[in-house]
Symmetry: C2
Subunit: 408 residues, 2 copies
Amino acid sequence: MATISHVSPLAPAYFPELPLIGGVRFASAAAGVRYKGRTDVMLAVLQPGTAIAGVFTKSATRSAPVLDCQAKLGQPAGGPAAILVNSGNSNAFTGHYGQASVSEITAAVAKVTGVDQSRVFTASTGVIGEPLPHEKIITKLEELNGALSDAAIEDAARAIMTTDTFAKGATAEIEIDGKPVKIAGIAKGSGMIAPDMATMLVYIFTDAAYDQAALQALLSKLTETTFNCITVDSDTSTSDSLMLAATGAAGVDATGNAAFETALNSVMLDLSQQVVRDGEGATKFVEIRVTGAASDADAKIHGLAIANSPLVKTAIAGEDPNWGRVVMAIGKSGAAADRDSLTIRFGDILVAENGWVSPNYSEDQAAAYMKGQDLVIAVDLGLGSGKATVWTCDLTHGYIEINADYRS
Amino acid sequence: MATISHVSPLAPAYFPELPLIGGVRFASAAAGVRYKGRTDVMLAVLQPGTAIAGVFTKSATRSAPVLDCQAKLGQPAGGPAAILVNSGNSNAFTGHYGQASVSEITAAVAKVTGVDQSRVFTASTGVIGEPLPHEKIITKLEELNGALSDAAIEDAARAIMTTDTFAKGATAEIEIDGKPVKIAGIAKGSGMIAPDMATMLVYIFTDAAYDQAALQALLSKLTETTFNCITVDSDTSTSDSLMLAATGAAGVDATGNAAFETALNSVMLDLSQQVVRDGEGATKFVEIRVTGAASDADAKIHGLAIANSPLVKTAIAGEDPNWGRVVMAIGKSGAAADRDSLTIRFGDILVAENGWVSPNYSEDQAAAYMKGQDLVIAVDLGLGSGKATVWTCDLTHGYIEINADYRS
C-alpha cells in the first residue's frame, strides 16, 4: 500500500482522553497480517449481559465477517461477548475460504476467552480478494487474552487503522438518576467511504444498561444522520461495520433516556466527522447544509450529489468559489429543484438567489472564504421544509496518489 | 480556465474527412466570448423541410438555451432552420437575463439568415452562472452568414470546444435504393460528462429525408446505448444537447431503414467514445461489458457503478489490476448481484469466478495487461440475460489539475 508519511491537515490536535468503560477490556497485537512493525489485531471482551447492536454495509458483495455478524446479532443478550478485528486484509470476496477463516477465528476466540462462539463478532479491513492468513491471528489469541485491560482502548483504535493517518476516538458522559454514565467509541476509515451503510469500522461502548432491541433501534436511527451522512469518495465498502455495546456496569438502565440519546449522537457525529477529516488526500472539511427541500429524503439526495461531485470537490481543492458546479450537482441529483427558487451561501456569503448570482456577490470575498480549512456550503431549495446536513472533503492529488498505488 | 497544453494521449490520429452533406452550410467566427485567439461561435443553416430531432440534459437546473430548444422542437418541419452555438459561457443559471440573451440571439439570427425565429436553435457551453455577452455574438452574425459553406464542418467542430484537447467528428455512408446517403457529426465534451442525458454538444447531419416524429424516436432510442452509456466523472451538465438534422438533399427517404439506423448508430457511438477519449486527464480508455444481469437496466447500473467509482478509476490510472474494487463497485450499485456467481475478466484474462479469485489467475499477467491504453473489463453476473456496455476513462492527476483551477 501507499506509504502515509504525514497526518491529515484536518486531524484533531490529539487523541481524546477516553474514560474507562466498566465491563469491557481491550488488547491489541502485531500479527503481521499484512503490515510490518505495527499492531493489526484488536480484541475486546465484554462482560455477561452486555447488549450489542450493529449496523453493517448494505453492499451486495459484503464480506464473510459481516455476514457472520449479521447472522449472530439477532440473538438475545446472555453470557459474555467478544469482538476481534484485524486490519490489512478485508476477507471480502474470498469465497468459501473466507467463511472458513471466520469460523476458525471465532472458534479459537471462543476457546481462549471462554465466550460462546455465537457471541464472538469479527471484522476484517484492508485489501479485498486475498485469503486472510487467519492462523497468524489465531496464534496471537493467547497473548491478546493475557493482555486484556480496561485502559487499552486507544491502542485498539490504532490497531484497526488502514490508510488512516490518525486514530479516531470520541467520548461523552452524562448522569442518569444521579449516576455517571460513560460512552466511548473508536473508528477507522478514510477511503471507500460513502453513505447508505454503516460506514467503516466503528466500535462504541457504554457502561449503561440498555434493552437489546431498543439499542438496535436507537443505533439504526442515529446512523442515518451521522455515519450515513458522510462521504469521501462515493464508494461503499464491502466490510464496514458499526457496533454498539452496552455493558450495564454503571448500574443504570438508559433505555429510552433522551440525554443518553443526545450523548450517543454526539459521539457518533464526532467519530463520523473524524473519518471525513481523515479522508484520503483531504485538505478541506466541508459541511453541506440543505434546507427548503420537498422532503428530508430529497435534501439528503441533493446534499450527497453536491458532496460526491468530482467537479465540486476539485473546485474546493482549488479554493475556487465555483458555485456553478453546486448548481450543476443539484440539477443532476434527481430530487426536486427549481432553478429560480434556489439560494446558495458559502459560509455567510450569499452567492446566488432568484436563479442567478446575488447582486451583492463579491468573488474576491468568496475566494477569501474558500481559503479556510473548514467550509460550509448552504443550499436552500425554496420548496418545502425538508433538510439534511452531510459532510465531505475535497478531492486532491493526494487521493490519486494514495489510490493509484494502493496495492503496490 | 486551465491551459490545455497537450492533446489527449487517447486522441484519434487525425480528424476524419467528413463528407459534404447537401442542405447544410457552416461558418465559425472568433467573437471573444471568453477565449482569446480562437473561434468560439458556429452557425449552421439548414435547408427548408429539414427534419430536426434533439435530446437534452435531464438536469433540473438546465440552461436557458436548452429550455428554448426543448420548447421549439415539438413543432413540425417547415422552412429553413439554423443552429447557433457558442463556447466559453454556458448561459446556465443566469436567470431572466439568460432567457433574454437567448431571445436576443435567436431574433438576430432570424433577421440575418431569414430563418423563422421558431426554427433557430442555440446552445452555449462553458462557465456556469456568468452573464452571456450576447452582443459580442450578435455583432458577428453578418460575418458568419456571409461565410456559410458546405465544407466548413471541421471548423465548426473546433469552434465549439471548451476543455477538449481535440476536435471530434465521425461519418458514415450507405446506399438506399441505389442512392448514396451520408451522415456526418461533430461533438464537444471532456468533463462534466455523465449519462442519463444527451451528453455534451453534438450535432449530426444527414442528407437523407426522414419523418420528423420517427427521427426523434430513433435519436432517443440510439442515445440510450451510445451517449447515455459514457461517463467521465459522473457529473451531468446543465447545458448539453444532441441534435440530428435530416435535410433530405439526397432525395431519399430513410425513415425506418435498418441500414440507416446502423450507420447512424455507428456515428453516435464513434462520437460518444471520442468524448471519453478526451476525458479530462484521461490516459486509459476503458470499455466495461456487463452480461448475465437480471435485466438490461441492472446491467447498466452495474456498468456505471464500476465506471464512476473513483477507486476503480484511480486503480486503472495506476495500472493496478485491482479487481477487488470492481467487486466493491458491483456490491454498492444497488442492482441485483450474487457474490458467488460473479465472473470478472480483464481483457481475456479470467480474474475471478465462484466468489473468489480464479485458481489460474496470474497477477503479473493482469498487471501487464493493465499497461495497455485501451482496456476491457468484463463482468458476468451469472443471474440472467441482461447486458450493457459502458465506456469511461481513468481518474488521474490531470483531472485534478484541470478542474481545481478551471476558472482562474
